[in-house]
Amino acid sequence: MDNILEVRSVSKSFAGVRACENASLSIKRGSVTSIIGPNGAGKTSLFNLISGAISPDSGSITFNGTEIAKKHPHQIARLGLIRTFQGAKVIRRLSVMENILLAAQDNPGDHLWRVLTPRARKRFENEAEERALDLLKQVGLESFVDSYAGILSGGQRKLLDLARAMMAKPTMLLLDEPFAGVNPALVEKLVNVLQTLKKQHDLTFLLVEHDLETVMNISDEVYVMAQGTVIANGLPNSIYENEVVIDAYLGSRRKSS
């Protein structure tokens, strides 16, 4: 299995504060990888560096062999690397369907001159709507199709976020704290949906998460970050036993079991 994403020694500082220091990751194609670590460890910064929201001061990031470190978020998305956001950002004033349709790639209607070719646009929109409806059914939101996304609950927004990300036909998904603030039943549902999607579409996942139990259950590999750098990585079990990690992160919890 080759590496779909390679992060090599990226560093980033903000006004003198080192958010990331020589952080490196290698993500294997088709795997589920999680990044864990205490708050302020640089996980979200690393995520933002990969997704293009910020660019690194040094180091390189390659996705499917393409260097993406200096690219803009929309360019990276078009390469097939799609991310979700903490708290599941939805466009409140658009309907659920419209939110998902945003993700349809290469929509002819995006180009203004296409106002002259309504049939081509309509054809694309119809196909997109069909696919969107399927995705909504998969996550269980089909009854909300025409409702404003603003009325959805937090958990429902996470499902919409996921469906929307899938609509963009990603090769790899970056999930930013997908299980944060979610009740256990929904966690189970989300995990099921993720695993189904992974099998159906041959996806790679990279998550940032604090929910250790779920992380350990679903991950093929775990990276631990602290103070801007990667302090350990490996199979979930090995992380649990790792002295450095225990010191930095797991703390006294480990000693009690």
Binding site: F14, A15, A19, T44, S45, N48, A53, I54
Partner: protein
């Protein structure tokens, strides 16, 4: 050389007037999130009131200036009570504030035109008295204006830095909701903002009128562009930035007419120069000279 000294001095004078007006605009924005399009008209009105009282009614200049200051401060407070307070309470958005501020500016300007008519005015000061400095002929009135405006700015600076209300204003400017819940008297801060703005605007208008010699009701509006350029240059909401922006643009505008620079840019293009300068700075530093890049992490 003489021309350079002359222009440098002009730049300092223009700069200090711009700085005063810009600090007023920046304070109002920083604390009230309001873009005061009527800023120029506040200046014009201050100048007109002062010149009316001192020239037409024969009042001593100092008295006229003091009354003008009171009037503009009262105007600011009155408008706040009538309009801005209401918009603050209803949590009006950017567009609403912009448009109401424009409406106010329109009404003020037309009122000035209607009351004072469109002729030009002149303060009863001797603007021909000059003295020689490094070969340049500098008007005494300019020197006096420069000294007075510098004093006003320094006084304000000390006030903002040392007084409790000054600290409260800066806290409010940084984070309004946090300041409000930490016990800062919001109404008091708002009052002080309009009072200080009144003092600065009236003085800026009066000084500009004196330096210009003859001025008419378009005086403030003509300066509005450079004032806003100064505010944005120094990062909107930052009073010290407005100071820096005002002085910088004043100097740039005046020195741009120096004949050594490709014959000098025609003086009617000064506002264009001000904005071109702003444009260049914003290309490099989109938040303004003193701004911190507000990029979400």
């Amino acid at each position: 050389m003489a021309e350079f000294v002359q222009l440098l001095f002009n730049g300092l004078v223009t700069g200090s007037i711009l700085a005063m007006a810009a600090v007023g605009v920046s304070l109002v924005y920083g604390v009230l999130r309001l873009v005061n399009f009527a800023a120029g008209d506040f200046m014009t009105l201050g100048a007109f009131i002062a010149v009316f009282l001192s020239v037409s009614e024969g009042w001593p200049l100092i008295a006229a200036v003091v009354v003008a200051i009171f009037a503009i401060a009262a105007l600011g407070l009155g408008l706040d009570w009538l309009l801005w307070k209401r918009l603050r309470n209803s949590k009006a958005g950017t567009l609403a504030l912009f448009l109401v501020a424009t409406g106010v500016a329109l009404i003020l300007r037309q009122s000035i035109l209607m009351i004072f008519s469109s002729g030009s005015r002149k303060f009863a000061i001797n603007e021909t008295a000059t003295f020689s400095f490094l070969g340049a002929n500098i008007a005494t009135s300019q020197l006096i204006v420069l000294l007075l405006s510098s004093s006003a700015i320094i006084t304000l600076g000390l006030f903002m830095a040392k007084s409790t209300i000054g600290k409260d204003m800066r806290a409010f400017s940084d984070n309004a909701s946090l300041a409000a819940v930490s016990g800062i008297n919001v109404n008091k801060v708002v009052r002080y903002v309009w009072i200080i703005n009144g003092i600065l605007s009236a003085l800026a208008g009066i000084f500009q009128g004196m330096v210009q010699g003859r001025f008419d009701s378009t005086m403030g509006w003509t300066l509005l562009l450079p004032i806003f350029a100064a505010v944005v240059l120094g990062t909107i909401g930052d009073a010290y930035g407005a100071l820096l922006g005002g002085m910088t643009l004043g100097l740039v505008m005046e020195l741009s007419t120096w004949h050594v620079l490709f014959g000098g840019i025609p003086s009617s293009y000064k506002p264009v120069v001000a904005f071109a300068t702003l444009g260049i700075v914003l290309l490099v530093k989109p938040e303004g000279l003193l701004g911190v890049k507000a990029r979400s992490i």
